[in-house]
Amino acid sequence: MVVVAVLVAVIFVAGAATAVLSGAAGPGRQEAGRPALAAAAVARQRAAAWVAGQVSADAIVACDPAMCAVLQARGAPAGRLLVLSPSRADLLGSDVVVATAAVRNQFGARLAAVYAPVTLASFGGGGARIDVRVVAPDGAAAYWAQLAADMRDRQAAGAMLLRNHRIQVTGAAAADLAGGRVDARLLVTLAALAALHPVDIVSFGGAGGGASVWVPLRWADIMAVTPGGGAAQPASLQAMLGFFRAQQPPYLPPSLHTVRITHQRTVLQIEYRVPGPLGLLGARG
């Protein structure tokens, strides 16, 4: 069993290397391949770091053996990893796939067209490029339909929050709300939070480098304000912190920090991980 696993890993590493080196030809090919291999290794490390920090802790990650090894070295439990192999070319049961050159070669055009249509983040370039993609459990067509409906709901909810007089919001953040670009988890929590504490939304963010424009913004920097609009006491920020800490998944943010941005201004940074659930808004029973 162990021998078979090692052989599979060797085959995948060899395949990845072949794919990376496919651009090099003629004399000096081995010399030219070294930087490419190094670039692939760097991309793997960056992708692994991003997955460890940004992908939901209960998400199942599909990866080739080499990538899975790097993810495990970064602390990902084996139970969260779905190792792809020539005998197991199936993403069923996974939430996210780390698409290295070997995985792209394995699935071809079907990877984006059928199994995993949206890119969350991208690392490296050329043959060394690694994409982290969302797996569509019911196929790409169904996923796009759900995503479009989710975006419409986010737009409608964002427009309502813009009318909420207990929410102050800057131009860029207001445009994000109106455009339906903000993650539904943030919208739901901000609506409830504003009923308890007036909020100033400083900014939204969180799309990874190379991410599809469809990926919602999943972090927010917010400040506590007084009902009159002035700067609030630190106790208000602590109360807001307590509000978020009291939540349960999917509304409990894995990352919560207070950051002092000027002498008198401290923001609360709220960050959710990917992939965000679709259909949280607009529940109609």
Binding site: D153, A156, A157, M160, L161, R163, N164, H165, R166, A184, L187, V188, T189, A191, A192, A194, A195, L196, G242, F243, R245, A246, Q247, Q248, Y251, L280, L281, G282, A283, R284, G285
Partner: protein, 315 residues
């Protein structure tokens, strides 16, 4: 000279009127006719305007509001208060308070909007951090049940869309499985299976049923229950399977709505009695006023026309 509106005039009489006097009398005739016409039209229009003003609150109630109620169906969960926070209006906070397991609150009317749904322990301070559970979109004219389902450790609030209309002459029935003692139950009504091996915390979709009194039977691995359920035509029911005393099961028959109108009228049993719009007043007085106004206008118009005709012949 004063014209007698509506009285016949002979050509010879009109020929004795001087030219300047004819012009003046024509102006007076026109003015009088116009005033009568305007008065008639006003009389006709006033009840219509009044009707529109009266109908406005009812129209508002039917087009911008929905209804929501809370059902506590988690056997080992202590009482909770459920809060609805509107996305757009932080003042439009709705609180649904309940007593305990198996209780269902009356429907509350809420403005159509997107809401964050959160829970607090019953009686907790409204300023304390609530635990968010879900969000709900309240559509105009629609009714929803927020049901606390699942065990206490994994309590979730499910939003169920309540139907308010039935096919003509039929009744609708759905089943909620809220018994923790029997994790799967089969529910039958007579020989019809309403739910087969329905898991704890699950809800069936509505099924159409013939009106009548049905013997509803619930069976799980450990317990069972039987109860007669009367389904009247046009009524909508939710049958809730609950833990009963002494290891048995219990069937709670909730009547979601009665009547085939979109906004069901009815008593407390419908759950919507207190929120249903009041019936409009009788249209008879308004109709009489409109008829009188139109009659007055028509008479004035006829009189004005004849006065002009006579004046033309008098030139």
């Amino acid at each position: 000279m004063t014209f007698q509106p509506g009285s016949p005039r002979s050509p010879s009489a009109s020929s004795t009127v001087h030219s300047s006097g004819r012009r003046r009398s024509r102006r007076l005739t026109a003015l009088a006719g116009l005033l009568t016409l305007a008065a008639g039209l006003l009389a006709a229009a006033a009840p219509a305007a009044s009707a529109a003003a009266h109908a406005a609150p009812a129209a508002k109630a039917t087009t911008t509001d929905g209804w929501i109620r809370l059902a506590h169906l988690s056997p080992n969960t202590p009482p909770v208060d459920v809060y609805l926070y509107s996305f757009g209006d932080p003042k439009a906070k709705t609180v649904l308070k309940h007593v305990g397991y198996g209780d269902v609150s009356p429907y509350m009317k809420v403005a159509s909007s997107e809401y964050s749904v959160a829970m607090r322990a019953a009686g907790a301070k409204p300023g304390s951090p609530p635990v968010l559970s879900t969000s709900v979109h309240i559509a105009p004219g629609a009714a929803y049940t927020v049901a606390g389902l699942g065990p206490a450790k994994a309590l979730r609030l499910a939003v169920l869309h309540d139907r308010l209309t039935t096919p003509k002459g039929r009744s609708l029935v759905r089943v909620i499985q809220a018994s923790l003692r029997d994790h799967k139950v089969t529910v039958t009504a007579g020989s019809q299976v309403l739910a087969r091996q329905l898991g704890f915390g699950n809800v069936t979709s509505y099924r159409t049923a013939h009106p009548g009194t049905w013997t509803v039977h619930v069976a799980g691995a450990a317990g069972m229950a039987t109860a007669p359920v009367t389904l009247a035509a046009g009524t909508i029911h939710t049958l809730v399977v609950l833990d009963g005393s002494g290891g048995s099961l219990m069937i709670d028959n909730l009547q979601d709505a009665a009547g085939s109108a979109i906004m069901p009228h009815g008593g407390v049993a419908t759950g919507l009695g207190g929120t249903a719009p009041r019936p409009a007043p009788s249209p008879a007085p308004r109709a009489a006023a409109v008829a009188a106004g139109l009659l007055c206008s028509t008479a004035a118009a006829c009189w004005l026309r004849r006065a002009r005709h006579q004046a033309r012949h008098a030139r």
